[in-house]
């Protein structure tokens, strides 16, 4: 972590960057918040640990509108999101100094099943322990680092940054699950079971829009779901239809652009596995139009703005 702070200090003091986008120490180890640092003095609150799961690339849209360069710390998977924003011309590469930071899997405090959590040790950067020690109001507990990891880290896209000016720190391979296993499990269900599954998950939705607002691919100036022109703007969670509409359309609007960064599932206050929608599209795109990873490069044509004359017909695979 000191290495990151030193880098930030050097660049801030030399004037090469006007601000640093990183994570700020919260009340505890487990609640750091994304933050802009404009003075080297303020960097005393900088933190980078296992709980810095927040993907900072979307903040670069706003940062890019400001005077001067912004130093941003991106984890390997965050760099895909940044790259995708770059190819959509939503961020200005010239105004970013990207430090690719190492990542050994990020943690979710919601996955730690103990009550009254005070301190968690073992999540330090770069020497994360195999086991987290959790000090609670009701005693000390331990949990394997892996067990507290975010879902996305179990299907990690790899240790490589796709865009950076400089790399600091080592990353670890955290993959221990098949990315599409859950999608396949659902695909194998009967229509009734599928419907029941999504109904029970989506009926929890409170329409807070956290998934949309955190999503680096959802960068529209005005979302169709905020439009008052017709009744797509439905803040009510009156009926189950309305949630389906929102989540299907949202997933569709980011299809072919979603890097599978997993922020939507991380932020959902109701724990809805929203990545299952995006991953279904990714899986279909891979199967029908060839392997495609959004954000991996700046050149290849996105699957939904491309076609071949031999494409499959709609309803492919139906019985």
């Amino acid at each position: 972590m000191q290495e990151l702070i030193n880098k930030a200090k050097t660049l801030l003091e030399s004037g090469e960057v006007a601000r640093v986008l990183g994570w700020k120490k919260g009340e505890y180890e487990y609640d750091p918040e994304p933050a802009f640092f404009e003075t080297s003095e303020s960097l005393k609150d900088f933190v980078y640990n296992g709980f810095c799961g927040a993907n900072l690339s979307k903040y670069m849209i706003e940062a890019g509108k400001k005077e001067g360069k912004t130093l941003v710390f991106l984890k390997p998977c965050d760099s895909y999101s940044y790259n995708q924003l770059l190819r959509e011309h939503r961020v200005d590469r010239e105004k970013a100094y990207i430090v690719g930071v190492g990542c050994k899997g990020k943690l979710a405090v919601s996955k730690i099943p103990f009550e009254g959590i005070l301190n968690i040790s073992g999540a330090e950067y770069p020497d994360a322990a195999e086991t987290l020690t959790v000090e609670t109001l009701y005693g000390t507990e331990t949990i394997a680092y892996k067990d507290a990891m975010l879902e996305r880290c179990h299907v990690c896209k790899g240790k490589e940054h796709v865009v950076y000016d400089e790399l600091i720190g080592e990353s670890a391979d955290t993959v221990d699950a098949d990315r599409f296993a859950e999608v396949e499990r659902i695909e194998a269900m009967s229509p009734e079971e599928k419907f029941a599954f999504f109904q029970s998950e989506l009926s929890k939705c409170i329409r807070c829009n956290a998934c949309r607002n955190v999503c680096p691919a959802c960068s529209c100036r005005k979302c169709v779901f905020d439009s008052t022109a017709f009744d797509s703007e439905q803040k009510a969670n009156t009926t189950s239809f309305e949630e389906k509409m929102f989540h299907i359309i949202r997933a569709f609007h980011v299809a072919g652009r979603c890097t599978d960064c997993g922020e939507c599932s991380r932020v959902c206050p109701q724990g809805i596995p929203l990545h299952l929608f995006n991953r279904k599209f990714i899986k279909d795109i891979n199967a029908l139009y060839g392997e495609y990873q959004a954000g991996s490069d700046l050149e290849s044509k996105a699957p939904l703005t491309n076609f071949t004359t031999e494409d499959a017909e709609p309803g492919v695979g139906r019985g």
Binding site: G26, E27, Y28, D31, P32, E33, P34, A35, F36, A54, Y59, S110, E115, G116, I117, L118, T136, L137, Y138, S200, E201, S203, K204, I206, R207, C208, N209, A210, R212, N213, V214, D226, T228, D231, E233, Q234, K235, A236, N237, T238, R266, V267, P269, Q270, G271, I272
Partner: protein, 341 residues
């Protein structure tokens, strides 16, 4: 004081539900929220904080106010009748019960909101003391005693026994109907539990938050503070904090065209949304900083200024747990405490 074995609670729920709608914490798809009891529901009274607070029962996230039918150019208004049947809320915690007192100030002030008022009249509240307060709890700061919550009936879960004590007339009426399931008990076990709870509350990290910088006077004093500009930046402008909050009461009134007419409904809204104050001629809160400030100023300064010092926060800590960017009211209170104004 009465008691009932935890294993007999299902019988108690069934008995209550036989005469009234019964709302209680139900776990579905991994999350616990208040819902209507049915025989198949997975009741979960052990989870300290339901994701959404009990606010939903009295002020639903979405409710129809009236329907308008149009026939030959004429409108016919079909107003929704306020609730007329009694119901019971079981297992609601002290902070959420206090939150109803906050909502009362809004909805029961003139002109009274008849939909909310009817639910308040029809509802009997069976609250549950918090055996294991969490790190993010700070109800003590707002004078809530989670060892002795308010409510028509108060219950305590001690080991495998639920203790039951009626506190109001409504509570006594409910208790009378349940006597066949309840046994008489003495207060000793509850007193010990309360002492244990209060000891933990003393140790809670946020129990000593200071509200000195807040209250009616803060409406002027804190408005122009540079702290807002420093703090708001990670805010995603989502509505998570407002929707999980037991006291946030802002709402929107919207139309839904069904093809046969229009349903006018009211639904929760969030002051964090960019279009919240948007109108044809402009917007008076154009920046996220202003919207962020509005939320906390409303809870900690404007509301007390209009309601004899009562804060519009009950310290339930849901926003502390749920904010995607880990921003929350505790951080705001602490920032003002530390840096002053």
């Amino acid at each position: 004081m009465y008691k009932i074995k935890k294993e007999n609670l299902t019988a108690l729920y069934a008995a209550i539900a036989a005469e009234n709608d019964l709302f209680l914490p139900i776990k579905a798809a991994g999350q616990t929220n208040f819902g209507l009891w049915t025989e198949n529901a997975e009741v979960d009274i052990d989870t300290l904080k339901t994701v959404k607070s009990g606010k939903d029962i009295f002020f639903p996230q979405s409710e129809t106010l009236y329907k308008v039918r149009r026939e030959e150019g004429k409108f016919a208004i079909d107003g929704e009748a306020p609730r007329q049947t009694p119901f019971v809320v079981f297992g609601i915690r002290g902070c959420d019960v206090r939150a109803l007192a906050v909502l009362d100030k809004v909805f029961l002030s003139d002109p009274i909101d008849s939909y909310y008022a009817a639910r308040r009249q029809m509802g009997t509240i069976v609250s549950l003391a918090c055996g294991k307060p969490a790190t993010s709890c700070f109800c003590k700061v707002f004078g809530v005693d989670c060892a002795e919550p308010e409510g028509d009936v108060v219950t305590w879960l001690v080991g495998d026994t639920l203790y039951w004590k009626a506190k109001t007339k409504k509570g006594e009426q409910l208790t009378e109907k349940m006597t066949s399931l309840l046994e008489k008990a003495d207060e000793a076990a509850v007193e010990a539990e309360q002492a244990a709870i209060r000891a933990i509350v003393e140790k809670l990290p946020y129990s000593k938050l200071s509200l000195d910088k807040w209250g009616a006077a803060a409406a002027d004093a804190n408005f122009d503070s540079p702290i807002w500009e420093q703090m708001y930046k990670p805010c995603l402008a989502c509505g998570t904090c407002t929707f999980v909050c037991p006291t946030c009461q802002c709402y929107d009134i919207k139309d839904y065209s069904t093809g046969n007419g229009v349903q006018r409904y009211r639904c929760w809204d969030s002051c964090m949304y960019s279009d919240f104050t948007m109108m044809a001629h402009g917007n008076n809160r154009t920046s996220q900083m202003q919207r962020f400030r509005q939320r906390f100023m409303h809870k900690l300064a404007y509301f007390p200024a209009n309601n004899q010092g009562m804060f519009s926060c009950v310290g339930c800590g849901r926003c502390v747990d749920k904010c995607p960017s880990h921003l929350n009211i505790v951080k705001v209170i602490k920032a003002f405490e530390k840096e002053g104004v």
